[in-house]
């Protein structure tokens, strides 16, 4: 029986330049931030990032890691617009941008999870999504209706990062907050071998049902290759019910976008060392 526990850096070491990485969570909610921070520490570059974006996208854009960005939105929730993502878009520093409807993003992940080339939908038709992503194609219903639908191509991921509340050492996991978001789809859309899940706490399998009902156990071990125990690993996004978003820190992060000096000071203070250094700097504020 495999013990899949590892560190963030061990997970990142399995990746290569140019890979497509899907990041779970939603906006500034339950993001696998310790894995994102490990990615920032690595020399990896030219990445494709797929996300319902929050500070994961902002940080990776600010660090120049992103060659292609696939998103339905990027927001910090309590701060509606993500300032680092905005700067990257306004300065034209993301070479390829794929802006989808939120449901199209789900469909692309689901198609990959089901090993289908595409899934049809009406969402996106008539909007500028199809103009701005000219690789998109339509498909005609083979039935009597003959309707023309958008064929959302599978978003096949080379790797997936998600952050959950609890798991055992083999990767059976549970979410204890109000929403799983699309974390199961991110894991299922990724290539076996690089499906990484950080959790607040690793517990014995027998304890999982003491934390929440079986309804919370949507992630099973066949969906996960690496388990990273990362207390406060979603900081500064929320991880309910373990903790709420650190709004003061998020404000500091957002304000640091105002000029390059502020940003390099923020990076020096928080992002220049290990995850332990980060957590220490956060606690020392």
């Amino acid at each position: 029986m495999a013990d899949k526990r590892m560190t963030e850096d061990e997970a990142i070491a399995t990746l290569s330049d140019g890979m497509t990485i899907g990041i779970g969570g939603w906006g500034s909610r339950r993001k696998p931030m310790s894995l994102v921070r490990a990615l920032l520490r690595s020399p990896l570059t030219d990445l494709t990032i797929v996300s319902y974006g929050g500070p994961d996208v902002g940080l990776l854009c600010a660090a120049g890691k992103v060659k292609r960005l696939v998103y339905g939105f990027v927001s910090l929730d309590s701060i509606a617009l993500e300032p680092h993502f905005r700067l990257a878009r306004q300065n034209g520093t993301i070479p390829e941008v794929v802006e989808y409807d939120e449901g199209m993003l789900q469909w692309g992940l689901y198609a990959a999870a089901l090993r289908l080339p595409f899934l049809p939908t009406r969402a996106g038709l008539g909007s500028d999504v199809v103009k701005n992503s000219p690789f998109l194609r339509t498909v005609t219903s083979p039935y009597a209706d003959g309707e023309e639908l958008l064929a959302v191509p599978a978003l096949n991921l080379d790797a997936a990062f998600v952050h959950l509340n609890r798991s055992d050492e083999r990767g059976n996991a549970q979410f204890l907050g109000p929403d799983l978001y699309f974390d199961d789809l991110f894991l299922n859309a990724a290539a076996p071998g690089r499906r990484f899940m950080s959790v607040e706490k690793v517990v014995p399998t027998s304890e999982l049902l003491e934390n929440g009902t079986f309804h919370t156990m949507k992630i099973n071990r066949s969906m996960v290759d690496g388990v990273i125990e990362a207390p406060n690993g979603a900081h500064f996004t929320n991880c309910q019910p373990d903790y709420e978003r650190d709004e003061a820190f998020q404000k500091e992060y957002a304000n640091a976008a105002k000029d390059p000096e502020s940003w390099s000071a923020f990076v020096d203070t928080y992002l220049s060392g290990s995850e332990a250094d980060y957590q220490k700097a956060v606690a020392a504020r």
């Binding site: 339905g72 617009l81 878009r89 306004q90 789900q106 038709l125 008539g126 929403d179």
Partner: protein, 251 residues
């Protein structure tokens, strides 16, 4: 009751967009749309489902900012998407720009390739507008918001929907646009935007000045209705005792 505020006029105008919707998800993005949905459910449209803005349907008259909710259902984002693709929803979204046929932009200002101002991205607007009834609330109507042509079509308007298939033409509906100045609909032969009513104290010329395209305007434009006493009491005492309703509007 007197001293009715602009925020209260707007909440009631948004609530009226849900009239007749029955047992569907009334979804409001932002304080005034959310209050509009809750007020409609609390008064004349009791079968509506309204959410706490997170992941739950609530059966009580939940105040803005309060967590004292009576849960009647669980709607994580996956279920919201299922509900909207199934058409059992009417959303009131915001708009950074909107045109004469109801094309809406929340994505960016300037060229999409390298925007002058990057906003949210299209979010759920393409899927919302093609799947179910959509209305808009705009708290700062100006000629830079009511534009000839939006920079990025996020939510699709009537001219775009008309070019798609029969199914879309049947199900697409932009019901109303509520702003700080008036209420607009698309009840015209070619679905061009029409001025449906002006808020009390606003002149038709104010609205024309705050619009870059040609509105359909009748000879006699009615005034937006004011809240009933019951509606005001529900709004002021129950749904929004801390008066969040006036904070997202110009004074």
């Amino acid at each position: 009751m007197s001293d009715i505020t602009l925020g209260e006029i707007c909440v009631v105008a948004v609530a009226d967009t849900f009239r007749g919707d029955g047992e569907i998800f009334a979804s409001g993005m932002g304080t005034i749309p959310m209050l509009g949905a809750r007020l409609a459910r609390a008064t004349f449209e009791p079968d509506l489902l309204v959410s706490d803005g997170e992941a739950f349907f609530v059966s009580n008259n939940l105040a803005v900012g309060s967590t004292d909710k009576q849960v009647e259902g669980w709607v994580p984002f996956r279920s919201v998407f299922d509900t909207l693709w199934g058409g059992r929803r009417h959303v009131v979204m915001g708009a950074s720009q909107i045109d004469a046929y109801g094309n809406q932009n929340i994505a960016n200002i300037g060229p999409w390739e390298q925007p002058k101002s990057q906003l949210l991205g299209v979010r759920g607007a393409p899927g919302n507008t093609i799947n179910h009834t959509t209305s808009y609330f705009i708290g700062n109507q100006t000629s830079r918001v009511f534009v000839d042509k939006v920079d990025t079509v996020s939510g699709i308007g009537y001219d775009r929907a008309a070019q798609l298939g029969e199914w879309v033409r049947t199900h697409h509906e932009i019901r109303r646009v509520v702003t700080n100045l008036g209420v607009f609909d698309f009840n015209t032969p070619d679905h061009r935007m029409r001025l449906a009513s002006v808020h009390p104290g606003v002149n038709v010329s104010d609205i024309v000045d705050a619009c870059s395209f040609e509105l359909v305007i009748a000879d006699d434009v009615p005034t937006t209705r004011t809240p009933t006493d019951d509606e005001l009491a529900m709004l002021r005492e129950v749904l929004d005792p801390k008066s969040f309703r006036d904070r997202e509007l110009p004074a």
